[in-house]
């Protein structure tokens, strides 16, 4: 355990050194991403700006903004920790250098997962906090401490979910030859998480809760923060996340087995 913490700090250091080397690229990317985070709010203004429209049933403007806050936060996790690692694995597979990862006496999943971070993406946390403040001032009250605690638990499980989805996609990369578009596909699907899941028709809502659990990533934490998530949903989503993570791990091990037995 201590060894893996040491390894993690090594990997973070590598990412930090890379960030320092390409400082200006990162500054530009940072500004661009701030812009995109700002635009994450725009669709809500479109929906709620016109008083004659009904808005989203069951969600006031302020409440929907809480979902947006979670979307921005999770988008930060996705772009900061998940996608860069996905890209790193895809590059490994393409260049045949995954062999070096598999030669190491450490868990290969851990090594590829922590290989790359876009550290400046922590700005997403700040932006999300600002959005939460605005949202709750619209709602007209502060969130209860217990509700915030519950939403933080869900943040951990949402991150784990996102990561497990990522592992599943990486595992697919071992079987599929053309993997260039996987990152893009992932990001496009994730875009649906910006809306409270109730805007989707029943079928999609089912998919986004149980198949590609986007609802668990943004809608559930938002509801927890607003104090209206049932505790059964909280427990259910935690258990679901664990199952999902276990499936992802199992698929990963299968994929590695396929890689070594088939011959890269």
């Amino acid at each position: 355990m201590g060894r893996y913490l040491g390894l993690l700090s090594r990997q973070l250091r590598t990412s930090a050194l890379l960030a320092a080397q390409y400082r200006w690229d990162f500054v530009v990317d940072g500004v661009v991403s701030l812009f995109f985070m700002a635009t994450a709010i725009v669709p809500l203004f479109v929906v709620y700006g016109d008083a004659s429209r009904p808005g989203i049933p069951g969600w006031s403007f302020g409440e929907a903004l809480v979902v947006t806050g979670w979307f921005i936060l999770l988008q930060g996790v996705l772009d900061g920790a998940v996608n860069p690692g996905l890209q790193a694995v895809i590059d490994h597979i393409r260049k045949g250098t995954l062999d070096f990862v598999l030669l190491k006496p450490a868990d290969a999943q851990f090594l590829v997962s922590t290989a790359r971070f876009q550290l400046w993406r922590v700005t997403s946390v700040v932006v999300a906090l600002v959005v939460f403040v605005i949202a709750f001032s619209r709602v007209g009250r502060a969130p209860a401490v217990l509700d915030v605690a519950a939403s933080l638990v869900l943040l951990v499980s949402a991150t784990l979910l996102l990561y497990s989805l990522w592992i599943l996609i990486v595992s697919a990369a071992f079987f599929v030859v053309k993997v260039d578009n996987l990152t893009y596909l992932f990001s496009s699907i994730f875009d649906a998480a910006r809306w409270p899941s109730s805007v989707f028709p029943n079928v999609l809502r089912f998919v986004f809760t149980f198949v590609v659990p986007l609802a668990l990533m943004t809608t559930f934490p938002a509801e927890a923060m607003l104090g209206r998530l049932e505790s059964s949903a909280l427990v259910g989503s935690l258990l679901g996340t664990l199952v999902f993570a276990a499936i992802a791990r199992w698929t990963w091990l299968k994929a590695i087995g396929h890689y070594t037995s088939a011959g890269g």
Partner: protein, 331 residues
């Protein structure tokens, strides 16, 4: 140390038929063909040995090394290295071995090699004191100096390869798998790499297998040679014996005090070249003495030299022969 018995490795390759209709059909019903990359190889290597794998491209050298390193599962046969079954990839085993591939690199491209060394130290859990001492030794042997602090992308191919080797030795492995470590390097850098590899083997008693298609690497480094051709083992023994077997002739180079004609030289043996005052003859092993005697007696010889034919020629002849043999068998 390394025991390999009847090792085979067949790759399953998805057949891509030509034509759109056939391609569509193959989406649903995939057909596979087996590429017999390694087809029944047996050998034993003792601790501390230096063994060279020789073979033309596609012979199965890399596949064999990757199987030994645990990166590929054998299709059949047994592989044991220092008591381990490589394909299990136990941490204890992985800490004993290293694999360097001339065509692939593990160094982080945008960062100095020192960062990769530190990363490997953390991964292999090498105590700080051991790490410092080993890096000092490696730095001296490979003359790394300030290279390790320059971003990898700024290093020449040779410098990068030296750092690749150092990165793969951070954990002090006792079994070294080197897959074409000198590929693309200029001659002087090849010599540096060879010297280093030999010294590392002598100093630490490490066992090593090296593949190369530069014969000189193998000749300079490996007392024992294993020839692999089309996935099968066609020779296992001393390099000299291999040369004897393939080309029992010697090369006799004669330098004269004045130009001679081909007609004057040809009675002595098979003439390889004859230009001005120098001639090269090919003479069978047991005839060398009498040919040299006759040359000294009949021609104005100033200087002479007897040696084995160039290794590259021996190799191309060896592989041409094995190809001919197979074609004969097939017919």
């Amino acid at each position: 140390m390394i025991e390999v018995q009847q090792l085979t490795k067949h790759y399953r390759v998805h057949k891509r038929p030509p034509g759109l209709a056939a391609a569509l059909k193959s989406l649903f019903k995939r057909e596979y063909t087996a590429v017999k990359a390694v087809d029944g190889i047996t050998f034993d290597i003792k601790a501390g040995e230096r063994v060279g794998f020789l073979g033309p491209n596609g012979a199965g050298k890399t596949t064999t090394l990757k199987t030994l390193a645990g990166l590929l599962h054998p299709s059949s046969g047994q592989v044991r290295v220092d008591g381990h079954v490589p394909q299990k990839r136990e941490a204890e085993y992985l800490k004993k071995i290293m694999l360097v591939m001339g065509q692939k690199q593990q160094l982080l491209w945008d960062l100095p090699p020192a960062e990769t060394f530190e990363m490997n130290r953390a991964i292999y859990d090498v105590p700080r004191a051991d790490f410092t001492r080993r890096m000092k030794e490696l730095g001296d042997l490979l003359e790394l100096g300030e290279l390790v602090n320059k971003p990898t992308r700024q290093l020449s191919l040779g410098e990068r390869m030296k750092c690749e080797l150092a990165a793969a030795l951070v954990h002090g492995p006792k079994v070294l798998f080197l897959d074409e470590p000198t590929i693309g390097l200029d001659v002087s850098m090849q010599v540096v790499m060879r010297d280093f590899i030999r010294r590392y083997n002598e100093q630490y008693g490490a066992t090593l297998i090296l593949t190369s298609h530069y014969m000189d690497d193998v000749a300079a480094l490996c007392p024992r040679v294993i020839v692999i051709d089309k996935g099968t083992l066609s020779f296992d023994g001393k390099l000299d014996d291999l040369v004897q077997k393939v080309r029992p002739e010697k090369r006799v180079t004669l330098r004269f005090s004045q130009p001679v004609t081909r007609e004057q030289v040809s009675p002595l043996g098979q003439v390889v070249t004859c230009e001005g005052a120098q001639a090269v003859l090919q003479v069978s092993h047991d005839q060398v003495n009498s040919v040299v005697g006759r040359a000294l007696a009949t021609l104005p010889v100033m200087d002479l030299n007897v040696e084995n034919p160039p290794l590259e020629e021996v190799m191309s002849e060896l592989f041409a022969r094995s190809r001919a043999n197979r074609e004969e068998q097939a017919a």
